[in-house]
C-alpha cells in the first residue's frame, strides 16, 4: 500500500511507513492529514490539521539552518549517542543464548535499531563504514529471524557467513569510531 502511494503521487522526499501506528500514537496524532514542523534542535515549531500553507512553513523556519561549523559538532554528538547505544546493545547481547524468546527478539531489535540510527546520522567521513556496519547487522539479524531466533546459533542457516561479515564490519569500525566517539565496539559480541 505504501509503495502504491509513493508511485501514485510520484514522491521524491523521504516516505516512511509505520504499519504499527505506534509513532502516531506516541506523537499524539489521531486525525489525518496532520503535520508537525520541528526546528534544527528538535523543538516543535508548529503543527497543522489538514493542508498547510508552504509560505507559513518557510516563514517559520526562516534563519533556522544550522551553521556548518556548529551543526557539525551537534551532528557528531548525536551520531556518537547512537554508537554508544550500539555498544550497549552489544553488551546486552552477551545474554542472548540464555534468555527467553522475547528477550532474544529485543536484543536483535536493539542491535538493528542502533546500527540503523548510527548509519542515518553518520558524518560524511564515516558514512561508508557506518552503512556497511548497519547492512551487516541487518543481514545477520535476518538470518537469526529466519531461523526463529534460535538459542543454538548453529541452527541458523547462513549464520557463519553473516556473523563473519558482521565481525569484519565491527572490526573495521573499532578505531575510527573510538577516535570519533570514544566508544570501543566489540568484535564477536553479537549473537
Amino acid at each position: 500500500m505504501a509503495n502504491e502511494f509513493a508511485d501514485t503521487f510520484d514522491i521524491t522526499h523521504t516516505l516512511l511507513w509505520d504499519q504499527s501506528f505506534q509513532s502516531w500514537a506516541q506523537l499524539g496524532v489521531s486525525l489525518q492529514p496532520s503535520s508537525k514542523l520541528y526546528d534544527t534542535d528538535g523543538a516543535l515549531l508548529a503543527e497543522w490539521l489538514g493542508p498547510f500553507d508552504e509560505d507559513d512553513v518557510l516563514e517559520l523556519i526562516d534563519g533556522n539552518q544550522v551553521a556548518a561549523a556548529a551543526g557539525g559538532a551537534v551532528a557528531v554528538d548525536r551520531f556518537c549517542r547512537y554508537v554508544d547505544r550500539f555498544s550497549r546493545a552489544q553488551s546486552d547481547a552477551v545474554a542472548y543464548p540464555t534468555v527467553s524468546d522475547d528477550e532474544r527478539q529485543r536484543i536483535v531489535d536493539d542491535l538493528r535499531y542502533a546500527a540503523n540510527a548510527l548509519a542515518q546520522t553518520a558524518p560524511s567521513e564515516l558514512t561508508v563504514l557506518s552503512e556497511q556496519l548497519a547492512a551487516a547487522v541487518r543481514a545477520h539479524s535476518q538470518v537469526l529471524l529466519d531461523a526463529g531466533l534460535p538459542e543454538g546459533l548453529s541452527a541458523a542457516e547462513g549464520y557463519d557467513d553473516s556473523a563473519a561479515a558482521l565481525d569484519a564490519a565491527v572490526t573495521a569500525g573499532i578505531t575510527p569510531l573510538n577516535d570519533t566517539c570514544g566508544v570501543m565496539l566489540q568484535p564477536g559480541a553479537t549473537p
Partner: protein, 84 residues
C-alpha cells in the same frame, strides 16, 4: 478536484528549505498489523522528540530509526497520512 495528498505533496515538492518526511500509517486497522521494535522501551526524549522506533523507509526500501530524523541540520516537516 485535487485531492488532499495532491495539494500537500505538490507544495512539498516545490522548495526544500526543510526536510520533508511523509509518515504513513495504516488507517483504521488497529495496532496488530505490524511488529514494533522493543527499542521503544528506552526513553529517547533527551535526544529527539520522535519515538525511538523502527519504521519502513519506503523510498530506500529498508528499516530505519524514526528518531534519527530529528534533530537535523535543516528543519523537518513531518506529514502524517493514512492511505485508505
Amino acid at each position: 478536484m485535487e485531492s488532499v495528498p495532491d495539494r500537500v505533496l505538490g507544495s512539498m515538492k516545490k522548495r526544500f528549505a526543510f526536510a520533508a518526511v511523509g509518515l504513513l500509517g495504516l488507517s483504521a486497522c488497529g495496532s496488530d498489523a505490524g511488529r514494533t521494535t522493543s527499542a521503544a522501551i528506552e526513553s529517547n526524549a533527551e535526544v529527539s522528540p520522535l519515538p525511538a522506533i523502527e519504521v519502513d523507509d519506503v523510498t530506500d526500501d529498508r528499516r530505519v530509526a524514526l528518531d534519527a530524523f530529528v534533530p537535523s541540520d535543516r528543519p523537518t516537516l513531518i506529514w502524517f497520512w493514512a492511505p485508505h
